[in-house]
Structure formats: structure tokens, C-alpha cells
Symmetry: C2
């Protein structure tokens, strides 16, 4: 049985936009959100693709997420912004803020923004990559629900708090880092759970803080806040560098959750029935403020060749550059995109619930 | 036998400054460098302390490092700088550049600098922490000699490329992340080698790219460029997140080595007899551009308490905040600092070679 269904991208987009409009989101914001979600699916990050539609629709219908939110610029300087997402969808406020950051960086070399009172914004890499259109360096980070256990802790306090940095290249594809600061994001545990596969021991701990291979148990513990959770990049011990992943996660939270005056750690999604107050941080840097951008891009190409041409270990035939796998997947999914059958089934239900025809 | 010797800090500083002056470094630069080195020893990062004096003195005497280097500002805007270290000691150019970055951030919210043609600058955290005096966020990163093997590679291409971020707190100590992007820095292998201890399997690979526990072999392979090297944070496999540490290291190199128009990857220390062209990147951000700094510092304190008060796993009684262990060590070493006896012996030799009395 093929568990993946090929769906025409234009039809999928029309459907997603219509669903959002039917729950009160204005067309522009619906389109931005649909683009971010479908881009994730095209790049193979299905955990952050249209699979998220269910949560967003539920949030919007319950009123926890505000369908008619209009982002507010709280504070502004020539190279900084403080923005409130007003509890609306994360994607539109993230997209519009990054647009403003890019304009400021083009005029004033470097620019940064923090966003508070937002929601899950999808893949961090979408926004960092927006800077590439103008040959800028792009930065996008966000905090997220507490799922990650700090070194020596028993319970999750930190989010998987991803970091994305996008770097333009010359003849080669851009270098795009887009990584959770945990060893893996929760979505990976869901995949292993679906397959009935034991987890690698550096991924997660049980409710007593002991590393475990049981995906179902960890997912249940996280959902019910019974203790345990994901491990930071580097695993559960200082000896393997777990405190570094923990530190990166903490810094992401400080730059997004605290520098915006928003929420951090356990306070994100902290109170049932209240908005989650997810916070983001965006940056753009103009290469030309430092060196000629042609030279920069040539050097990035050179670095890519240096890595690609380096000796491979036994059994390996390729060294990857960050973003490369995702660009290749996206190239293969220009007209149609693979969606997991359960997600398709759920979209059909969402269509019925929101009164939208399902065109696939 | 006690392998650590307690040395009076003032005497140690006088000695280090005199040594640098006697090999042609001007007093101001000698003092900056001595401060950075001794701060590392006080914080317990002895691999980056006065143990480095031998390499610096050899470099300066051979002329590979320029004792009389005067840093040059190549390009400047109100919030960016491109600097050349002119092949001098890394510490003075790093210190002076960070001072300029701080001044720019105070006036213009956020500021960044890249530095090329520099040398090893000591602990990255020294410079990020300079921003704390003005309640700014500080960032300090540097590329370094190729010691780290990219995921699926056999040979070292990347440096241990550390990242340091310093964040002011209120009543609590600042949060200071200062981490190599490899699982461990080379210094840790030297420690295990000295103790005859087998390495944890996620630290390094042998000359065939196979994970190994043999510290002596890895160190020899690195020195002679026989293959293998340190593993990125996350280890040798994608499954354990090794590609993330590799990506962080790559980004550090792009922001320091490429954005400065300097050297990267295998080109650092690339040609025998030529300057290594180590490159740095510094940043400072004014909290007040985003939110009130009092509020910010209170929130950081709150986060520290949230982490400190979180449940501990079995056998653990404390969750650490980044920088905490180092601040505690430094507090205990205000008058005297512990130096490894072999380093003391070597300093005596350096004293003889450079005609400086040894006051300890």
C-alpha cells in the first residue's frame, strides 16, 4: 500500500486558502500561510506542512488563534522592529515582518526584529530564505512549546527552538541551515512511532529522565506533561555535548521570547485556553556592507566544492551541503506534492467541517 | 603528586606582558592578550590560557605572526566594520574591534564586524562578555584550523569554530554560552590523552573516518594531516544530529571567514610558512531597541529560576546555566590561578628564551 498521495499543488493551495478564508482569515494571510505550509511539504518537511492544517483550523475556530488578527508594530528604529502578532496565525506576521527586516537591511546594512504574541510559524527556513532574493544573509528563529529536557533535568522546559540561516551562493544553490536545537524534532518521533521502530537512545527520555527507545511513551508523556521529553542536540550527557544543544535552545528562547517581551520556556502554551504567545526573531544582513557580494558568492561556491570534493568515509559517496536535500525534493515536487494519506483524509474532514469543496 | 601549580595572578600577568614585549609586541597589545589568556585560566578553560603562550611566542619570533601589527579598518558604516588584523595577535584586534562594535550598537541599536588576517584569539567568551558592561547582548565567533570532519567525510575540513553569546541578567549572573561546534574541542582530547583515558565514541574518528576511542592516534593524525579528526556536535551520524553540528560550524566559517573576505575551511593555516588568516565575527545588540532593559533582565532572571527549579533526573542535584561553572571557577581564582605544571615548566623556558625573569 502506498501511504503517500500525490496532490496537484495548485489544487492543494486553492483548498488550503479556501479553508482559511472560511474560518475568517483574510485572503492575503490565507495565501501566505498556504505557501509556507506547501513549501514545507515540497521540501520534504511534512511535519510542518499541510499536516498542521488541523491544529490551525481548530485553533482559529476555538478563538485561541485570532483569524482577523492585524499585526502591530510596537516599536521601530531604522534597523530594528518589535512586533505583536496579536495572536493570529504565525505565518503572516512572520512573512510580513521578514519583508520589513529585508527592506531595513537593504537601506541600513543589518536589521533585526522580534515578534511576540504569535503562533507556530511553520518552517523557519521559509523566512530566512526570503532574504536570498535580495542576496542578503537571512536569519529566522522561533521558540516553541516546551518539549526538550535541559541537561540533568527530568522534565521538558525548553522548546525544540529551531535556527535557520540562509546564505546566497554563486553558481551553486544557497546554503540553508534549518535545524531544531533538539537532536530531533517531535515529528521524527511520530514517524518512528508510526513505523513501530525503536528510537535511537540519544533522542528522548522517559518520565524519570532516563533515555528511552519507546516513541509512543515519550509522545504520550509530552502530551500529558507526565515528564521526560526530547533531548537537546548532543544528547543527555555533558560528555556528548548535550549542554550545548541545551544552550542553543536557551539562546533561541532569549532572542525570541525575552527580547520581544513575550513568553519563554514553560510559559509558551503555558495556560490552557489562553493564546500560546509563541515568539520569533528575524534578521537580515547586507553582504555589501562587508565585502563585494560577487566575491562572497564565489567564496561560498568554493567552500561548497571544497566540502563536496573532500574524501568520503567508507560506505559514503556524498557529503551534503545544508539545504541541498530539501532543494532536490522541492525540484521534484513542482507540480505535485506527496502528502501522507492520513493527512489527506483529515483534510477531507476539514473540508466538510468548513464547507470547502475538496478538489483532489 | 599535585599536577596543578597555584600562581599569583599579578605576577603571572607581569610575566606574560614582559614576554610579549620582549618579542616586539607593544605594551597595550601585550596587556590585552595577557588579560584574555589569564581570564581563560581563571574560568577553567586552561587549553585557551597561558598554555597558548608557547605557540604565540614561536609564531611571533618566527615572523609568521607580526609582533608590530597595526589593525586596519578596511570598511566602515554606522553599524558595520570590516577589519584586518594584519597577521598580528588575535586578542588585540578582537578586543579593539569588539570595543568599536559596542560603541556602534549603543548609537545605532545593532552592529557587527568581521575580521580577517588575524590569529587565534583565545576564548570567544571574552569578547561577547565585553558587551555586558553596557547591558548589551554580545556575540563572538571565530573560525579555526581544520580539525572537524563533515558528516559522511573522512578528513577534517572544518574548524571547531566556536560560538559565544552573552546575555545580561538582573540579580543573577549573565548567561554566557561559549561552545565549540564540535562535540569537544581538541584540548579535551589532550586531557584524555594525558590521563590515558579512552575517548567517548562520539568525539573523534580515525584516519579512515571510523569512530575511535584512541586519543593519541587522533591527535597525531590531526597534527600530521593523516585523516580523521574531531566529530561535529551530534557525532558522526545524521541520526544523532551530526549534520547539525557540521552546519553550525559551516555557518561560523561563512560569517567569519567568508563575510570578511578572509580564509575558510582547509585554507586556514593552509600553507606552511604563511600566516594562518584566522577570521572572526563580532556583534552587539542594544536591548533597549526592542524592550526596556530592566524588563529584559527580570525575564532572564525568571528563566534562570525556571530552569534551576525544574525537576532533576535521578542522581542529579543541579541544572546549570551556561557560564555558571566558569563564573564560579573565576570567583575562586581571583588572586591565584591553577596552571598545569607542564605549562609552568614551559613558561620557565619561554622566560629564558626571551630574557624575562620568572617571578613565580
Amino acid at each position: 500500500m502506498n501511504e503517500w498521495v500525490k496532490i496537484d499543488i495548485e489544487k492543494l493551495k486553492t483548498f488550503v486558502v479556501d479553508v482559511f478564508e472560511n474560518v475568517g482569515v483574510k485572503r492575503e494571510d490565507a495565501e501566505i500561510t498556504a505557501n509556507v505550509l506547501i513549501t514545507a511539504d515540497r521540501r520534504g518537511t511534512n511535519s510542518h506542512g499541510v499536516a498542521r492544517l488541523r491544529r490551525y483550523v481548530n485553533g482559529l475556530r476555538s478563538g485561541i488563534m485570532k483569524a482577523d488578527a492585524k499585526m502591530e508594530i510596537i516599536k521601530e528604529t531604522p534597523n530594528t522592529l518589535l512586533v505583536s502578532g496579536k495572536d493570529g496565525l504565525g505565518q503572516p506576521v512572520a512573512y510580513k515582518t521578514m519583508k520589513l527586516v529585508i527592506e531595513k537591511a537593504k537601506k541600513n546594512n543589518v536589521a533585526f526584529a522580534t515578534v511576540r504574541n504569535s503562533n507556530h510559524f511553520g518552517i523557519a527556513g521559509y523566512y530566512s530564505m526570503m532574504a536570498l532574493e535580495d542576496d542578503l544573509l537571512g536569519i529566522s528563529i522561533t521558540n516553541s512549546a516546551p518539549l526538550v529536557v535541559p541537561t540533568f533535568g527530568k522534565d521538558a522546559v525548553l522548546g525544540t527552538n529551531p535556527i535557520s540561516i540562509a546564505v546566497p551562493a554563486g553558481k551553486e544553490r544557497p546554503v540553508v541551515l534549518d535545524m531544531a536545537t533538539s537532536t530531533v524534532p517531535r515529528g521524527k518521533l511520530e514517524v518512528y512511532n508510526r513505523m513501530g521502530k525503536p528510537l535511537p537512545i540519544t533522542w528522548a527520555t522517559d518520565e524519570n529522565g532516563i533515555p528511552t527507545t519507546n516513541a509512543a511513551q515519550v509522545l504520550e508523556n509530552l502530551l500529558e506533561r507526565k515528564g521526560g521529553g526530547l533531548l537537546p542536540l548532543g544528547g543527555g550527557e555533558e560528555e556528548t555535548g548535550g549542554h550545548k544543544g541545551y544552550g542553543l535552545s536557551l539562546m533561541v528562547d532569549i532572542f525570541s521570547g525575552i527580547l520581544s517581551g513575550g513568553a519563554f520556556g514553560l510559559n509558551i502554551y503555558g495556560k490552557k485556553g489562553e493564546p500560546p504567545n509563541v515568539c520569533h526573531f528575524f534578521g537580515a544582513m547586507n553582504i555589501e556592507a562587508f565585502i563585494d557580494k560577487g566575491t562572497f558568492k564565489e567564496m561560498v561556491d568554493e567552500y561548497i566544492y571544497m566540502l563536496k570534493n573532500a574524501a568520503k568515509r567508507d560506505g559514503a559517496d556524498r557529503i551534503y551541503i545544508h539545504g541541498e536535500k530539501e532543494f532536490e525534493k522541492a525540484d521534484k515536487q513542482k507540480q505535485e506534492v506527496n502528502i501522507y494519506y492520513k493527512v489527506v483524509d483529515d483534510m477531507r474532514k476539514i473540508g466538510e467541517e468548513t464547507g470547502v469543496d475538496i478538489p483532489f
